[in-house]
């Protein structure tokens, strides 16, 4: 093979600095800049959490997660055990209330109600509920439950469930809507009843997305403080009872200890913050593994 030298000289394939390339460079720079800008606060948070928190937690390693909280907050020493249990109780209770209700509600909205007046009303209400500040939810449960039955982890669970419900409904309905109609048709054409179509085809197809949506709601609920201040009360000892007596939670402890003027309390707040983040992260990880198992099975 031999190339004609004249022709090669005539064709110039080298990049030229045109208006289009300039625009491309400018926009790419902006996008990289935006990415860097949003990662800076993220890394700053993780860094400060880890640098402060790890020291506190490691100083009294397993004790920090198991020991009770010092009654006098200026006293130094470990202990977030009751708060971890309280967070698990409140968030777990809220999940048990909000996730089934929310998923069933979303199934109604997308598979049955569709564009009916009632469905539209429910959808609108769920949207409005998303915008209600968490402290108002706390106040609502305070009046409805706590004033009658006193402080308990269940009151906190109720308030968190109110916060989670619209998120679960919204995310689940979105995921159900993404399941293509031709899959429903395929199942109907095989003589499947509507409930079978939903249970065996629509829900499995939407499951990974539904799990993600629920996790988002759980993670948000685990970090909420305001509604718990009203409903859970304050405790420094373990309280494994869901319905009885005041309890506590990590978020409440972070708030209380961080605003304290004693260095020992502030340290505990850092430890509690790190614990909360790790707890949420572990939860997400476990749910992802379960979701992946499901996906592989299908």
């Amino acid at each position: 093979m031999r190339h004609s030298g004249d022709q090669i000289l005539a064709i110039n394939l080298e990049p030229r600095l045109s208006w289009r390339t300039i625009k491309s460079i400018v926009m790419t720079t902006f996008m990289i800049g935006a990415f860097v800008a949003i990662t800076i606060p993220l890394f700053a948070i993780v860094w400060s959490l880890v640098s402060h928190g790890v020291a506190v937690v490691s100083r009294s390693f397993p004790d920090f997660f198991t020991a009770t909280i010092p009654v006098v907050s200026r006293r130094s020493g470990p202990g977030m055990g009751p708060a971890i249990l309280g967070t698990l109780l409140c968030t777990g209770g809220a999940t048990l209330i909000a996730v089934p209700l929310g998923i069933l509600g979303a199934i109604y909205l997308n598979e049955y109600g569709r564009t009916s007046m009632f469905a539209r009303l429910v959808r609108f209400m769920a949207m409005v509920m998303t915008g209600v500040p968490s402290i108002v939810m706390g106040l609502f449960v305070y009046v409805l439950w706590t004033m009658r039955f006193g402080y308990s982890a269940f009151g906190g669970a109720l308030a968190l469930a109110c916060l989670m419900l619209p998120i679960v409904i919204g995310a689940t309905e979105q995921m159900l809507r993404l399941v293509p109609d031709h899959m429903r048709e395929a199942a109907f054409a095989l003589g499947a009843s509507k409930s079978r179509v939903i249970l065996l085809v629509v829900l499995p197809a939407a499951l990974p997305g539904i799990i993600s949506g629920c996790l988002l709601a759980i993670a948000r609920a685990a970090g909420e403080t305001a509604p718990l201040l009203f409903t859970v009360g304050a405790a420094t000892a373990y309280n494994p009872h869901l319905f009885e007596d005041a309890n506590t939670a990590l978020s409440v402890q972070i708030f209380g200890n961080a605003t304290s003027s004693f260095a020992a309390a502030q340290e505990r707040a850092w430890g509690a913050a790190l614990t909360l983040v790790v707890l949420t992260f572990l939860l997400t990880l476990i749910a992802r593994v379960i979701a992946a198992r499901f996906a592989a099975k299908r």
Partner: protein, 290 residues
């Protein structure tokens, strides 16, 4: 559940009528499965199809041909009540299935679809394994034992000429198959519920000629066991596989000033393609349409 499809409302009517005359020649004396009488289909207030009267014979392949928008798919979807799923769709006139009014008060659409299966234009396997796709129908009908499910899966895949290609990856995803294999999987899935009729809505339009030929060959085999109704845009396909052909076209509805589908001619396939009685049919099959 099993008693849902009883109660004959009227004896099935022989022949097919257009403009009041019974003109369908008795080319075969196949028993009648479906009898459509002055069928009209509405989507909301829009009349999509009008005046469709024809009979569909047992163990025959009946093809619906015609240009886009002529209502052939709409009519097909009425035969297993898939149109029930579209909000606002309704039917006037009658369709009887073995003499039973398909849209009768006591007929359950779910029971209808267990007997009248459907294969769609785009292959639509479930995002599950090949095995689970086929076993779906058996499972919803209450089969639980693994050995029975295994037998159903093998039998259906063999009937759809797919067994040898997939027997080593039954538990792999159905979505990893080629388009032609996916469509044969959908056919296998449909015949796994042992229906009486298989409806096919342009089953080959997304496939290449080789895959199309395999499906056509399969249809000829399935005809021994099932009654098949196929909608196709491909006139050669109708000519190759079908026993009878119905030609639909879209014409302006005198009532609504909109184009609605009408049945022009229904006859033995060889006659439709060699000696059609209606000028519109001749124009369409010779490519002079529109």
């Amino acid at each position: 559940m099993q008693t849902a499809l009883v109660k004959p409302t009227r004896p099935s009517r022989p022949g097919y009528r257009l403009d009041g005359q019974d003109t369908m020649p008795a080319a075969t004396d196949a028993p009648i499965v479906f009898a459509l009488d002055t069928l009209e289909v509405y989507y909301g207030s829009f009349r999509a199809v009008r005046d469709v009267s024809l009979d569909i014979g047992k163990n025959e392949i009946t093809a619906f041909i015609g240009p886009s928008g002529c209502g052939k798919t709409t009519v097909l979807r009425c035969l297993n009540r898939m149109n029930d799923l579209i909000p606002g769709a309704r039917v006037a006139g009658t369709i009887t299935y073995h003499g039973i009014d398909l849209y009768g008060r006591e007929v359950s659409a779910t029971e209808v679809r267990r007997r009248i299966g459907m294969v769609f234009q785009k292959p639509n396997p479930f995002p599950k394994s090949i095995y689970e796709n086929i076993a779906f129908g058996a499972r919803i009908n209450g089969t639980r034992e693994r050995s029975k499910l295994d037998a159903v899966v093998e039998k259906s895949l063999r009937a759809a000429a797919l067994w040898d290609e997939v027997k080593d990856r039954l538990h792999g995803s159905a979505l990893a198959m080629s388009g032609g294999q996916q469509q044969r999987l959908c056919i296998a899935r449909t015949i796994a519920i042992e229906p009486d009729v298989v409806l096919m809505d342009e089953p080959c339009s997304a496939l290449d000629p080789i895959a199309t030929a395999r499906i056509e060959e399969l249809m000829r085999e399935l005809k021994q066991t099932y009654t098949i109704v196929i909608v196709t845009h491909n006139m050669q396909q109708a000519a190759r596989v079908s026993d009878r052909t119905a030609f639909f076209t879209a014409e302006v509805d005198p009532k609504a000033e909109r184009r609605t589908g009408v049945l022009v001619e229904y006859d033995v396939t060889s006659r439709i393609f060699s000696n059609p009685r209606d000028e519109r049919t001749e124009n369409y099959i010779t490519g002079r349409f529109g």
